[in-house]
Structure formats: C-alpha cells, structure tokens
C-alpha cells in the first residue's frame, strides 16, 4: 500500500504549492521545445513531448488586462479590489490580484505573496 501524504493542490500541481511555501514560483518548462506552460499537464501543449521540468521564474510580468471589482461575491472578499491577468516574461498568463499600488494594462509588475491560514502563500503581483 502506498503511503499518501496530505498535500495542497493535486498530483499535477502540488510542486507549485510546495515551492510557494518557499516563496518561489515554479512553471512547467518543456526540455524539447522550450515552451513554458501554466497550468501543468503531463504533456507539452506545444510539441506533445513528456520531457517536462519545473523551472523557477522571477515572476516579472506585464499586465494583460485588469478589472476593479466592486461587487461583493462572498464574505471573504472585500471590494473594491483588483483582479488581473498578468503575462509572465516566459509567456504564460496567470490570474491574480494586484496590490500595493496601481498598475494599468501594459504596465510592468512583480511577484509578491499573500499569506493564507489554511493554504500555502498565494502568488499576487504589485507594481514593479
């Protein structure tokens, strides 16, 4: 019988959250074609290869789009707050919050982390 340990995420994503506990952002990288992909899959979406590795990235990114949410959608969210899609310099986009100042579409942003009680730190972004 295989011993299983309680991990955050799922069998494909838990390395991202293990790294998040060290405030590091991991993105899957294809050793064959160089494609970076988020979220992780067992195969490269660009070339079908299974030769994938984890690479730590800086998180340097550009704002692709954003919205300031004024709607109260759940008790844990306190509007107004900024929800954005940022495009990592390596290519993939991630949904996030932008905190610590204003950033418009096209602006440079950098990685930050939000502590959570019941889960690993959450990657967010702030103005560069």
């Amino acid at each position: 019988m295989t011993e299983t340990k309680q991990q955050y995420g799922d069998p494909m994503t838990y390395p991202i959250w293990e790294a998040a506990a060290r405030y590091e952002l991991l993105i899957q990288h294809c050793k064959v074609c160089g494609h970076y992909q988020f979220y992780p899959r067992p195969f490269c979406l660009n070339c079908d290869s299974d030769q994938l590795e984890w690479k730590r990235v800086s998180g340097d990114a550009t704002v692709y789009s954003k919205t300031t949410v004024h709607l109260k959608i759940a008790p844990e969210f306190d509007p107004p707050y900024v929800v954005a899609l940022v495009e990592l310099d390596e290519g993939p986009r991630m949904l996030c919050n932008i905190e610590g100042g204003a950033a418009e579409i096209g602006d440079r942003v950098k990685l930050a982390w939000r502590e959570r009680e019941d889960a690993p730190p959450l990657p967010i972004w702030m103005p560069a």
Partner: protein
C-alpha cells in the same frame, strides 16, 4: 424544400420575468404546447429531446414530465448559455441522418424568483479553478467580460460612449416589446453613471436576472409541410469552444465565434453582408460587440466605430437584439433559447412593432461558459 433541408417549425417563450405560478418544468410544458401548435404537431410526434440545465439527466426528467417516452435521440450537451443553438445544430444533423424526425429543444429557469444566481463559481476538484482562480475573487463570468472590455478599450481605443450604444439600443428595442422586463427610457447619462460592477462595466452593461425560457421545434422537410406558421430553414450552423480557465484564453478580445461563424456561413453559402438582422447573445455590453467582429461583420477592433450613431437601434441599418436582449428583455440564466426564438420570429416577419425591415436572412449567435463556447445559426424562410 429539399429532402435534407431542416426547419424550425415552432418557437415559443415560457412565461418570463418573475414567475411564481409555475415550476420550471411546467413552464417548459406550456412553451412546448405552444411551439408544437405552431408546428402543427403534438407532443406524441416528438422523438428527439435536447435538454440541459434542468436537473440531472435532464432529457430523462423532462421527457417523463412532458410525456415524451422512448425518444430515439437525446442530447444534453453542456457548453453554457448558448447551448440551445448548439442543440439546433445537433438536431439538424440527427434529423438529416434519420435518427429522429421531430426534435424538441427546451429550457426554463426560475433563477430570479428562487434567487439562484451567484457570481461565485461552484467549487470543483476536477479543474484548477479552485487553486488558481477562485482565491482571487473573480466574479464569474462578470470578471471575464470586464477584462475583455478593458483590453478592447486599451488595444483598439474603443470608448465608453461607443460601448453604451449596446445597452441604449437594447432598451429602445425593449420599448417595442411588450414582454420586455425593462421598458422605461434609458439615457447615455444613466448608462455612464450607473453603479460600477467590475470596471469598466457598470450596472447597465450587465444582463438582467429574470425567470424565463422557451421551446424550439426542429424537423425535416416532410414534417415541415404541416407547420401552421412559416417554416424557417436552417441554412447553416456552426459551433466551437476554446477555454475554461481565464488564464488559458488565447486572446481575450476574440471568441470562438470566429470558428462557429466560419462554419455556419460556409454551410449557408452566404456572407455577413447578406444578413438582415442579428441576434447575438448579450450577457454584457461587450458580448455582442465581440460577436460582430468575430462573425466578420467588421474587422477586429473596429466595432466601436461600427455601432456608433445608433446603427444597432430601431431605425438603424444594423438591427441587433431586437427583443431587447439579455440587457433589457429577459435573461433566464441561459439566454440562447430566447436568442434563437427572436431570430425565428424576425425571419418569419412576425415581430410586430420591433420587426426589422425586409428580413431575408436572420442570424442567431450564442456564447456560453466563461467566454468558452460559441454557436451560430443562419436562418431564412423559403
């Protein structure tokens, strides 16, 4: 009529707005009888069922309720609010293959009277949303369309005044539709200063939350001859889908209408310039605007100038969402059914005060999910 031609022979709304005297199932039963009456058919003739968003195993539950026993073909495709247009495509193919003769597409929701709507997504352990999207508090699908709007403004210089053409035109059409939910006058000032929901989208950029639904009956040339109203031929149909997670959208200002439109127009052998009236799912102001571009009515990025000056309003030369749409007429959670019904009525020329002039070709276009799917139908009377 050729042997392989497929027709919409019945189209009826359920009770709309705020419905307290019917269940969702009895609402569908009412619309089914009205649509089948238009078709000159009865529930006993139905041998194909196309149902979703009516509970688990929706074709089984609703089939039992309606008394459609032992249908030969059923389909509960789930691609979001435009699924009913996808169903029409599937029904066409099933009928052409002889797998069924009379297809019933049905839907109703009491999301308003039962207060079912939430902007927070249902959690799922099957996808990555819970890990990578839900923690950021994105309202769904409002946030998706808000970011599409913001990006369109950034990339193409689309202005708030240009965007406002859509809710303003919707309200003017709704004023011509006795069944519309909002019929009071709406000004540019009202739109521009309404409550901010998710920047740059304000209250009047977001669809209604109402009860409603409908039934559409699809059949082949043989049975279409019995129809009591003009049968509406499906000239072309197309569908596609792209993404679920917002991070995976390849280009947030482009939708799979590119693919559904390409296939629908290709099958029909007509071009966007031949279209006389367009019903394009308006969940939000930006939704029909992206459809206009992606279906090829104008170039990508140019829709702001394209709709300017009241072109999509009554009297304009590009009539759009003539019922008043999801913004002013009705949005029962899944609007595609009502998009299709209005396109049928426009194609028949029976829309009364809101009838677009000289309609030969009507287009119904649906979207669904989280900017996920698209389906397009090209319709005409013979």
């Amino acid at each position: 009529m050729s042997k392989t031609d497929v027709y919409i022979v019945g189209a009826a709304e359920t009770p709309l707005g705020e419905v307290y005297d019917h269940s969702a199932y009895s609402m569908v039963a009412l619309a089914a009888h009205e649509a089948l009456d238009e078709a000159g058919l009865s529930i006993r003739d139905v041998d194909g069922l196309f149902i979703n968003y009516m509970g688990e195993e929706g074709t089984v539950q609703l089939g039992e309720y309606l008394g459609v026993y032992e249908p030969r073909y059923v389909d509960s495709t789930d691609v979001g609010g435009g699924t009913f247009l996808t169903f029409a495509h599937h029904a066409m193919l099933a009928i052409q293959e002889g797998r069924c003769e009379v297809a019933l597409i049905g839907y109703a929701s009491r999301q308003r009277s039962l207060r079912l709507r939430s902007a927070q997504w249902k959690q799922s352990v099957l996808n990555n949303m819970e890990q990578f999207e839900t923690p950021y508090g994105i309202p769904v699908p409002i946030g998706h369309f808000a970011m599409a709007t913001a990006r369109h403004m950034y990339q193409f210089g689309t202005t708030r005044e240009q965007l406002a053409e859509i809710p303003l035109a919707a309200r003017k059409w709704a004023q011509l539709n006795p069944k519309a939910w909002h019929r009071d006058p709406l000004t540019l000032d009202d739109v521009m200063n309404s409550r901010m929901i998710a920047d740059p989208m304000r209250r009047h950029d977001c669809c209604l939350i109402t009860d409603g639904g409908g039934v559409v009956i699809v059949t082949g040339a043989d049975r279409a001859r019995d129809a009591r109203k003009k049968p509406v031929r499906v000239l072309g149909a197309g569908e596609s889908q792209r993404t679920w997670h917002i991070s995976q959208i390849p280009d947030i200002v482009e939708t799979p209408a590119v693919e559904s439109g390409r296939d629908a127009f290709g099958m029909a052998g007509v071009a966007p310039a031949d279209v006389d009236v367009l019903q394009a799912y308006d969940a939000f102001t930006i939704t029909p605007l992206l459809a206009i571009e992606d279906l090829g009515f104008c170039e990508k990025g140019e829709v702001g100038a394209f709709v300017q000056g009241g072109r999509t309003a009554p009297g304009g030369d590009f009539p759009l969402n003539t019922s008043g749409g999801g913004l002013s007429y009705c949005h029962p959670g899944a609007l595609g059914m009502l998009v299709l019904i209005e396109a049928v009525r426009q194609a028949r020329g029976e829309a009364g005060a809101r009838q677009a002039p000289d309609v030969e070709i009507a287009v119904a276009h649906g979207i669904g999910g989280l900017m996920s799917s698209a389906a397009t139908l090209i319709l005409a009377c013979d």
